[in-house]
Symmetry: D2
Subunit: 311 residues, 4 copies
C-alpha cells in the first residue's frame, strides 16, 4: 500500500514536471553538457524495503558532475579518517561555488568538501601514493559497487572537454598548492578530478548508490556496511549545509533533505530512514542547481512527509 | 520507561559536564556578561508528552541574546509573511557573525535572519508602525505566551550596556539604512534590538518556548497553534544552516539538530517529533557558541538517537 | 609674457570645455548638490609670482566637499604630527571611496586620510579636547586665513542634508569606533565632518588656499610659512596617490599633478614650483571625480609642461 | 662641481648604509635568492649629462625580478599601444602583490601592469604571435639595447626554480585565462614571465637602461628615442602609483620619485630631468620592497632636492 502511494506520488510529480515551462538553463561551458535536451526528466526513489519507484528518463545516463563529490568524500574518509579535516573545513561557503576569495582569506584551506576547491583537495588525498589511473579506477569501482552495476563508466569526451577549459579549477588547484594543501602534482590531481566529475550514471544507478546514506551507513538490501552510522549522519549533515553551493540554505528551507547537486542537472537526496532519491532535470537555476530537480524534491518530501525538520 | 531513560541521560550529561575542564571563555564585551560564573550549567529537555527532564541550573535566568532571533523571526513572519524575504536572505553567511563585508557585496541585504544584520532587519520589520516600547512589549509577551510564564523580563542593565558599546551593530544598521533596507530611525530599531537580546530566561522557560518548533508548529500540551507545520519546518531549516554563526556547519556535523546559540552561552535545540531542548554553559568557543552546550547536545542526540541525519 | 601664455591657455581651455557635450552626471544624493547647473565651469591658476589667470565661473562658490580633507589633514598634522599615522594609513585604497570592506580587513584603520573613513578619523583628531563648534570654527578660520578671505562660510543646508542622509558615513564612523579608532562621540565627529565638507568656496579662493602646497609650504606672496617643505611634499604625495578615490591612478596617468577632488565637482591641483590650480565642473565620472575638471587639467599641464613626471 | 656634489652624496649614502643594522630579510621562497648576502649594497646615479656616480656593489649582477615589468610594459605599449589597457587597469591595487581577490571582483582584469597578474597579462601580449623563445629574446635584446650592454643574460637557475614553485602565479594566470584575458597557453606565458623576471643586471646596467624614463623618452647620450615624452611621463606615473606593491604610497610619501622594486632587492628610480637611479640592497621590508634601497633613495632625493613633489 505504501508502495502504491510512493509509486503514485512519483508518477504525479513526473507528470507535473513535464508540464512546467520554467526549466532554467542547461550548463553551457562545455559542448557535451550544452547539447543535453532541457526537457529530460528522470526521478527514482528507493525506499527502505528496496522498492524502486521510477518515472521519466530513469535509465538514461547523465554526467553526475559534483554529485561524485559525495562518493569521493566517503572514499577519502575511509582512507584518511579525520586527518582529512586538516585540509578541508566543514562550514558552508557563503559564496559562489568556484570562489577563490575564500581561499585567500583562509590560507588555502577550502571551506568544505563540496565546493570545487574542497573536492579537489579530497581528490588529492585519494590520489596520494597512487598513479592517477589507479585512483580513478578505485573511485569508479566504488561507485559500481555501491550501485551494484558494473556498467557505469566515465564519459571521456566530457572529461577531456573540462580539462581543456577548466582554467578556474586549475587556478584553485595551483592556489592551494602554493599553500602546501595539495601533495601531488597539480595536473595529476586535476586529471583525476575532471574524470570523476565526468562519470555518467542514470537516476536508478545513483539512487542505488546513495542508499547507504539513507540507512545509517548500510545498504539494507545487500547488508553491506559502507560506513559507520555516525559517518553516514555526518556526510548527510555536510550535504545539508553545503551540498547546493550558495543555494544550500534555500534547498534546506524548501526541500528539507540532505542533497548534493551537479551542473549536469542531477541531484542525489537522502531521506534518512525512508529513502534514497535521484532526480535529473538539466536546466539550472542562478545558483547552478537543477531547477526542476529542486521543485520535484520539494513536492516529493511534502507529499511523503519526509522532511527532516518535522512531519 | 522512556522517561527514565531521558532523565538518566540528562543527569549523566550534567555530571559529565561538571567535570570538564575545557569550558571556553565567557563573553567579555560587556560587564554584565563577563561577570557570569563559567561553571554554570543547565540542561532541560521536554519530550513530546510534556515530560520535563532537568539538570543543573535549570531555573537560573540567563541572557538569551541571539536566541531571541528565533522568536523575532517567528513573530515577523506572522506579520509580514514572505514579504520578509525581500530584505533578508536564507543562506549561511560563511563569515563571522558581525561581518559587514557581506553587506557591501550584497547591497545591504543580510544573508539570513540569524546574523546580527539580518536580525536587525527583522526587528525593523516588527517595529514598523509602532513605537519602540510597543514593539518590545509585543516581543516580550510573545515569549511569555510561548513559555507559559509571565515572569520573563528584560534585563535592563544588559540592554543599556549593549546600547552604549554596540558600535559594530550601529555600523551594520546604518549601513543597511544607507541601502534603504531599514524603514525606521536607526536608533529606534537598535533600541528594540538591544532590548530583545537582553531578555533573560531559564533553560526551563526556553525549552518550553521552543516546543512549537519540535512539534509541527503546535504546542502539544496546550494545543496552541503557533505557526503552520510548514513554517515550523522552515524555521528549523534556517536554524540548522544558519543558527550557529560561522560554526553552523560544525554544529550540524556534530550534533545534527536545528539549534540557535547566543553569546550568553545558551542554546535552544529542536529534535523534531521528539523534544525541545535548552542548554546553558557560559563559556564560548572561537566561533562564539557555547562550548559545553555543544558538547552536551552532541552527547544527548547520540544517546537518544535524535539526530535528524539518521538513527 | 609668461603671464600672456598662461592667460591665453586658461581662456582657451575654458572655451573648449564650454563646447564639450560630455559632462558626466551631477551628484544626486542630496538635493543641494543635485540642483547645481551642470554647465557651470570655473578655472583659476595662480603662478609663483602671484599672477592670477581666471576663466568662467571663477568667483561662484561651490561645495568643496572632499577637497576640505586636504586642509583638515594639514591642520591635524600640525596638531598631532606623526601620531596621526597611528590611526590612518598612507596607501591607496584600491576600492570605492566609501568602502567598508577594507576597514574590516584592516581592523578599523582606514587606508589613507582622503577616503571618507580616513577623513573622519582625521576630523576626530582635530575635535579632541574641543566642542564640535570650536573645532569647526578652527577649520573654517584656517581656510579663511589660507585664502586670505574672511567671507568663506559653511553652507548649512548642505551640511544638514548630508547629516540627514549620511548613513554610510555613520556606518564607517561607528565601525571605526568599534575598533577604538575614534576618541569622540560618533555624532560629534560626524557633525564636524559633515560641516567641513559643506564649506563653500570659489575657484579663486580655493587656488589661493592651495598656494602653500605648490611652494614648499609657504605662500610666496604673504611669506606665511604654513608647513615645512617636507610636509608640503608629503601632502602632495598623498594627493597624488590617493586624492581621486579609485581614479587616482588615472588622474596621475593623464594629468600628472597632485590633486584632490570633491563630489561637488571641484578639484584642487598643485604644480610644484609653478602654480596652484582650482577647477570646477559639477558633472562627475564613474569614479566620482569631476569629468571636465580632469579633462581641463590634462590640457593645462600638457600645454604648460607642468607634469611632475617629465617635461 | 655638480658632479662633485653628486659623487659625494652617493659615497656618503653608501657609507651610511654600510653601517645600518636594520636590513630586512632576504627573499627566501627560492634558494637562488635566499643565498644572496644581505650585506650587499650598490648604488648608481646617472645624471642628465651622462655622469655616472657609483658606489658599493655597482657592478655585481642581481636578479631584477619585478623591475623587468617596467621594460616589458614599455615593449608591450610599443606593440599594442592603448589596446593594452583593455586587459590591464591603471589603478593602485590596495592589496598584496599576489592577491587573487581583486581578480575575482574585477572579472579577471588586473588592476595595473606592475602587480604579478598585470605583468603576466602584459607578457602574454608580448608573446602573441611568437614562440616563447622568440618573445624572451626580444625582451632580453631590448634591455641590452637600453643598457648599451650585450652581456646581460637570464639566470636560468633562477627561472627554473621560480617555474617549479610558482604555483601562486600559475593560479593567477589560470584564473585570468578562465576570463579570457590571456591569449596564449598558460604554460607558455608563464615560461616567458618567469624567465624575464630572472634577468640579472648590475646597478650600472639598470640605471643606464632607465635613462629614457628620466629624459622624456630619450637617452640623452645616444639620442635614441625609446618612447614619446608623453609615454615616458605615463610610465613614470604608473611607477609612482603602483611600483612598490602595497608600499607604493609609502615610497611616494618618503622618497617622492617614480620607482619600481623587485624582490631581488633592486629598485629603479627616476628623477625626471635629473637622473636615472638604481639601488640594490637584498633585505626586504614587510611589503616586499628593498628596505635599505628605500632608505638610501630617501636620503638621495632629500640631499639632491629631486622630489617631484616640491624642492
Amino acid at each position: 500500500m505504501s508502495n502504491q502511494l510512493l509509486d503514485r506520488v512519483v508518477a504525479e510529480i513526473a507528470d507535473e514536471m513535464a508540464q512546467r515551462a520554467d526549466r532554467g538553463a542547461v550548463a553551457s561551458y562545455i559542448p557535451e553538457l550544452a547539447r543535453v535536451d532541457p526537457r529530460r526528466f528522470g526521478l527514482v526513489v528507493i525506499d527502505a524495503a528496496g522498492h524502486v519507484a521510477a518515472a521519466g528518463d530513469a535509465d538514461v545516463p547523465f554526467s553526475i558532475q559534483s554529485i561524485s563529490k559525495v562518493f569521493t568524500l566517503t572514499l577519502a574518509l575511509g582512507k584518511a579518517g579525520d586527518r582529512l579535516w586538516r585540509r578541508v573545513g566543514r562550514e558552508p561557503s557563503g559564496s559562489a561555488f568556484n570562489s577563490i576569495v575564500q581561499l585567500e582569506h583562509e590560507r588555502g584551506i577550502p571551506r568544505n568538501p563540496f565546493i570545487n576547491a574542497g573536492a579537489i583537495a579530497v581528490t588529492d588525498l585519494i590520489l596520494s601514493g597512487h598513479q592517477p589511473r589507479e585512483a580513478l579506477g578505485e573511485i569508479l569501482r566504488f561507485l559500481q559497487f555501491l550501485a551494484g552495476d558494473s556498467s557505469i563508466v566515465i564519459d571521456d569526451a566530457v572529461a577531456k572537454s573540462e580539462q581543456r577549459t577548466g582554467f578556474r579549477n586549475a587556478a584553485l588547484a595551483n592556489y592551494m598548492k602554493s599553500f602546501g594543501v595539495l601533495d601531488n602534482p597539480v595536473e595529476y590531481t586535476l586529471g583525476v578530478y575532471f574524470h570523476h566529475c565526468a562519470i555518467a550514471m542514470s537516476c536508478r544507478q545513483l539512487a542505488m548508490a546513495g542508499r547507504f546514506l539513507a540507512h545509517n551507513g548500510q545498504n539494507p538490501s545487500t547488508g553491506h556496511n559502507v560506513v559507520s552510522s555516525e559517518r553516514a549522519r555526518r556526510i548527510n549533515a555536510l550535504m545539508l549545509t553545503c551540498g547546493h553551493y550558495d543555494g544550500s540554505g534555500e534547498f534546506a528551507y524548501r526541500v528539507g533533505l540532505p542533497g548534493k547537486s551537479g551542473v549536469g542537472g542531477g541531484v542525489l537526496a537522502v531521506a534518512p530512514g525512508n529513502a534514497s532519491i535521484a532526480v535529473w532535470a538539466p536546466g539550472l537555476d542562478a545558483a547552478g542547481n537543477s531547477h526542476l530537480g529542486r521543485v520535484a524534491l520539494e513536492a516529493l518530501t511534502k507529499r511523503m512527509g519526509w522532511s527532516i525538520f518535522g512531519v
